[in-house]
Symmetry: C2
Subunit: 324 residues, 2 copies
């Protein structure tokens, strides 16, 4: 089965999530609705809702309950994107103008704040306080991850471990939480919820590594933005750190990165991309992503063999693939 | 009794809140701790915790429960200040450097995000999901209020009603929520919680109006920043809107505001302040604040005559006073 088939199969329920996402940000205030909807309409893979719904299949699947977890998780992700765009000074995302370029930085900041808060009002409609706690803790970790990313900008001496800890907080924990909360909201038992959490965590790590590789190897068409946007802003991703370990590459790459820094990103990016692509960094990063995918599959092994399990395996394989 | 006596009387419990505030932002991450603590150490009146604790006296007063409402409310207020400082381009607050001037705008944005999220993890330790919902809804309204404030910058045609709706969201609802949640967390009955909410709402409105008046009439020493910071950034507060209604003032004031706008706040502020001070705007705004104070006192009337009630009356009178 292809990933598109999976989306097709889940279409009814995902449409409902889409409606609820839209509803959640269209009522309180005209300008808020406009900015938030702009972002919503730009689309996205809705991978967090997909994980919530599939994980919910391991318990009592009730869409009216699961949507109160899926919608907040996607909103939190969206809010973080709005704030990222302020930081990254991004003019476009997914080929569309960002909130900060269409309106301004101040509007983007408050739009993000609003979407965060809105996410929490929706999850708190569920009576289980444990769910509220898990979600707000995931949000704390994500914010720390975002902060760490800035702190580590242009730090060419950071370890691979530091990178992994950062993407764990920035990306993997929210995906792990999506899987966990889908199970918890569906009253699945704790062991099941923990296995799904572990699945999500490892898939999330692989997902971010692949995303970081893609930013260096993808085309502008694939990415919806020019390649190299990470390194241009000083984000030292895994392929960069691994390339820096290579004797023959290190000095030249350090010089290119220094040029990027000095020129505020206008110079040195193409050279850095060329050097990294020619290094072992890309392949080594992909191997690491593969290992996370293998771990994610292992976490699923002892779960009951329901169709949702096969769908999760499918997604893991898809994320693990070399080209998408 | 003076307000200082009230703080002295509550000292033990407020110290506990202060400790918990500090603890809440010092563990997860070094840079986060540093930026958040910097803000915390700058102090503040802790008016929201005071309202939580006093309202808690109308039920079963348990500090270990009430602190899980008081700390989040103060944190949400603090987070909004960090984000305000980004917007306002403020170099100092309460005589101290702001997070954005000591670090930078990006750090300030994520520090604010982190503090918001942290606030929610603390309140979710309480088992009552209704409390989580009330708090997150208050946060939504506050964010909308902040957004409205930007939208209305330099809008000299806005109505007084528009101003009142904005400060309701931006300030009054969070203070109302402080009073309400103190009562709810202490298991006070609904009627009591609603009366305290109404008290807090009206006190909050008066508080913001007085704050807006003070920004025009106070000295740099009183304010910890130069006067006129609102009008300099285009925030049309109540005294400004009321002064604009005066035939003899209107044209000159509009010109001064236009100069502020054109010069990005470097020119026209002193002239605008002078015109507003000489107008009826200040006195009329103060009268409006007085009416909100009267309403806040009316809301307390049918509550039991316990010491906390007299303390709330004291605070309301203090906020209503012409000079502080």
């Amino acid at each position: 089965m292809k990933l598109l088939d999976l989306y097709a199969k889940m279409k009814g329920d995902l449409n409902r999530i889409e409606q609820q996402l839209e509803k959640s940000v269209t009522s309180d205030h005209a300008l808020m609705s406009e900015t938030s909807l702009h972002l919503l309409k730009a689309g996205g893979k809705r991978i967090r809702p997909v994980f919530v719904l599939l994980s919910g299949k391991f318990g009592d699947y009730r869409l009216d309950v699961l949507e109160r977890v899926a919608v907040p998780l996607e909103l939190i992700h969206m809010a973080s994107l709005v704030h990222d765009d302020v930081i990254d000074d991004a003019e476009t995302r997914r080929g569309q103008m960002t909130v900060k370029s269409k309106w301004d930085n101040r509007i983007a900041m408050y739009t993000g704040d609003y979407i965060y808060a809105k996410a929490l009002t929706i999850v708190t409609e569920l009576p289980n306080p444990h769910i509220h706690q898990i979600l707000s803790k995931a949000m704390v970790e994500m914010c720390i991850g975002e902060m760490e990313q800035i702190r580590d900008f242009f730090n060419t001496e950071q370890s691979v471990r530091q990178y992994l800890l950062r993407i764990r907080r920035k990306t993997a924990l929210l995906i792990a939480t999506s899987c966990q909360l889908g199970a918890v909201a569906a009253n699945a038992d704790r062991v099941t919820a923990n296995r799904l959490y572990r699945f999500g965590y490892n898939v999330g790590m692989a997902f971010q590594i692949r995303d970081d590789v893609l930013d260096l190897c993808g085309t502008e068409k694939q990415l919806g933005k020019p390649p190299g946007s990470d390194i241009r802003q000083g984000n030292m991703t895994l392929p960069v750190l691994l390339a820096l370990r290579e004797e023959a590459v290190r000095d030249k790459l350090l010089q290119a990165i220094a040029r990027i820094r000095e020129s505020d990103g206008t110079d040195g990016t193409d050279e850095a991309i060329r050097l990294i692509r020619a290094s072992r960094g890309i392949a080594a990063a992909e191997e690491m992503a593969d290992r996370y995918i293998a771990k994610s599959l292992a976490a699923l092994e002892r779960l009951p063999d329901i169709p949702a399990k096969r769908d999760l395996i499918e997604i893991a394989h898809f994320i693990g693939k070399r080209n998408y």
